[in-house]
Amino acid sequence: MKNKKTICFYFQVHQPYRLSKCNVFEIGNKDKYFEGPENYENKKIFEKVAHKCYLPTNKLMLELLNKHPEFRISYSLSGVFLEQCLEYGKIGKEVLKSFKAIFKTGQAEILSETYYHSLAWLYSKEEFAQQIRKHDELIYKLFKKKPQIFRNTELIYNNEIAEFIREMGFKGILAEGWDYYLDWRSPNLVHTPHKVNLHSEDRKIAKEYAIKKTHPKEFALLLKNYKLSDDIAFRFSNKNWSEWPLNTNKYVSWLNETDGDTINLFMDYETFGEHQWEDTGIFEFIKHLPETALKMDIGFKTPSETIKAYDTAGDVNVPYLMSWADMERDLSAWCSNQLQESALKRVFDIEHELKSNPEKIDEDTLSTWRKLQTSDHFYYMSTKYWSDGDVHAYFSPYESPYDAFITYMNTLNDFEEKVASKMENADLSKACLAVEELRVRLKELGGGYRSTIRT
């Protein structure tokens, strides 16, 4: 019997800790890094997005889940987003509560990602794996769920990442359904990643931080249908678009005409109410989507259900890094100019020092360092849209990519100084302890001796 076609919704929920402005004269005594720049204070942005997107959208989703037992959705919530929920008082609690209610229905799946929305994969496999585990723990603590499917920051993907994630015990991974790699294949079928061998060191790391000791029999790749996803996420309110205005009936008829088992609609959650404002009709559109689809015999599945339900159609070979960003679907938004490269190199250069001295470096320091890895910091330094004046393609709370870089590097300098002084202090107190010990022993040896060691 032919499978009934299903929709797989996945929403990315993320807010970075934007850096407060930092000038060179503050290096050495910068107090708070993560309040955000003037007029773009992180708390204010969180509140704004909460009111425009998180709260109304969660309310609508919950209603839809309750009304249609067949309806399914999935989310990934970055660790830094969840920290902001916990940090920002009442509004944060409210947002968190509304997500909890959604997961409680059992109709919404939660996915795994790097805690700090980090580009760690590119620089340190160990850091990458540690962040996945840290995220895992936070998700369990808050939602009592254990994610089984992974999505990397900005859907950054290649064969190697897939293999690493499989080795960590996940059941599947998400990626962009980019034609360049798909060729004649359809993104609307479940695939398997092209199998590659990991470097033995990397495999060791994956095993060490695995979420399970055993691997699932099959590891699946879900590919975003970017055309149908972007119809909602980007084109929905574009009046120059030939299909504007888009209503639910028209959209579902497109879904109906689409061949395949699963239509993977992946997008930023902020699409609802923040990127597409309420007055564009985006909420009305979503509100009628489940019933219209169900009437056309189109169902819904979470990523895990999708993987379970359908046979894989074969493997997809993605040897190079791919993301879901821009026309190029590459990494150029985060690491293509010298500003970005030097900032990234510098932040990952201190990893070894931080991690090889656990007795000197506390958890707070480590977490500050990790917040500096969030991909958004590097996106703000991008010059690729800047010269063309394409403001629509580029949002930044800083005046220019150069200002973003200056603030980032000054903050990082301050951080490095703080780390250096922690190391010194730790060394100093260790030396003091040793001296003290010696003094005691000398005393024990014979009360007659006068200590010549001064501290």
Binding site: V24, A343, W386, S400, Y402, D403, F405, I406
Partner: protein, 408 residues
């Protein structure tokens, strides 16, 4: 289209920006198929740099007549004005020609030019009249009265840029009269447009913004270390006048030197603040790190830019400001004040409010300390400036002509 243009100076005889800009505009217009008849106070053979079929130089003194001067308000005839910069200009272009080229009283001269120059409106066919600043606006007004063709006044600078809070009333009056009588006004920046609205009460719809450009050229200068092998170089290049903010440059230098020792600050240019600036460097105790090169000419300018690790333009008020574009062409990244027209045009530059000395120092230090910042700025700004041309900008000027003709 035939354009009757009233210019004040033209290369190779020019004191500064206005002549250079006028040359670029003429070149751009000719490139776009326009005919230009340019009236100047004095014409020399070297000025004929284009095809004489499409570009004609007309000497105001040789117009063979004079317009009826009763139409010019009498208040504009004061013989007692003394504009320092004008006197300096006269001295510079040579004493022997001062009397017959530009008189020693600027305002008198501006009127003599208007009276004589406008006469060409009777004898030369034209579709549009284009004047530059208050110096030639009156000629534009008179010419327009004769031929009834639309007059476009091009504003390169206002009296408020030049003199800050103490504008010369006569000059201001002539600027205002020019703008009010013109059919359209071209401002060299949004920054200038705002000033025209605010200080001259001009309606917004009458103003078109057309940014300046620079001529394509490839810098042949390499970074040399004549001054110091070990120190980094931060450059100021411009007139030492209140408008250019040399005092803010020094305050910034002081801040930078508190943080970082191996930096030399070069100040190139002359002007009425020269003495004050030198004294200020001494008072701040940074005279060992501040070098004064005096006024630079020709090759030396390019060399100065090429040697700089950063060019800073801390102008208090700059209608456009072509120097940063020149600096970029010679390979220097730039830090420019937000109170400048050029900052609207160049995205790959560091920007700062001229009064925000802390932030200026922060950005200077960042460029000197982070090589990636220096190289990215340099690379991207060069690419950006390469895309700017008078050929393109002239198209916007023609659009402004078309508007004037449509509503005339």
């Amino acid at each position: 289209m035939h354009i009757l243009m009233f210019g004040w100076e033209f290369p190779p005889i020019n004191s500064g920006g206005l002549g250079v800009a006028c040359h670029g505009i003429v070149e751009g217009l000719i490139h776009n198929g326009q005919h230009v008849h340019l009236v100047l106070p004095k014409v020399t053979d070297e000025m004929q740099q284009f095809d004489s079929n499409v570009f004609q130089l007309l000497d105001a003194n040789k117009s063979g007549g004079s317009v009826d001067t009763t139409k010019i308000p009498s208040t504009l005839y004061s013989p007692y004005t003394n504009l320092d910069s004008y006197v300096q200009f006269i001295k510079k272009i040579g004493k022997e020609s001062a009397n017959d080229l530009y008189g020693s009283n600027l305002i008198d001269e501006v009127h003599r030019y208007a009276i004589k120059g406008a006469e060409y409106a009777k004898t030369y066919h034209h579709d549009i009249i284009h004047s530059h600043d208050w110096l030639t606006a009156e000629a534009g007004i008179q010419a327009s009265k004769i031929s009834d063709k639309p007059h476009i006044m091009h504003v390169h600078a206002t009296e408020f840029d030049r003199s800050g809070d103490n504008p010369n009333q006569q000059v201001y009056d002539m600027e205002k009269r020019g703008m009010e009588n013109a059919d359209r006004v071209i401002a060299v920046s949004e920054y200038t447009k705002k000033m025209l609205i605010k200080y001259y009460g001009l309606p917004e719809h009458k103003i078109d913004v057309v940014h300046n450009a620079v001529k394509p050229s490839v810098s042949t200068y390499q970074k040399k270390h004549d001054i110091s092998r070990s120190d980094q170089i931060v450059l100021f290049l411009g007139r030492m006048t209140m408008q250019k903010g040399p005092d803010y440059f020094l305050k910034m230098a002081k801040k930078v030197l508190e943080h970082k020792k191996k930096v030399k600050f070069i100040m190139a240019g002359n002007g009425d603040m020269m003495e004050q600036v030198i004294k200020m460097a001494v008072d701040l105790g940074i005279e060992r790190n501040v070098l004064f090169s005096g006024f630079l000419k020709g090759d030396k300018v390019g060399q100065a830019y090429a040697n700089a690790d950063l060019y800073v333009m801390p102008s208090v008020s700059e209608p456009f400001g072509i120097a940063p574009l020149e600096a970029i062409k010679h390979g220097a990244p730039v830090l420019i004040s937000k109170q400048s027209g050029v900052s609207e045009m160049i995205k790959n530059a560091l920007r700062v409010d001229f009064w925000d000395v802390d932030e200026m120092a922060n950005k200077v230090i960042s460029v000197l300390d982070y090589p990636a910042l220096h190289s990215t700025l340099k690379e991207h700004s060069e690419r950006e400036v390469d895309r700017i041309s008078w050929q393109e900008q002239a198209k916007h000027i023609i659009t402004s002509y078309d508007k004037a003709l449509r509503f005339a």
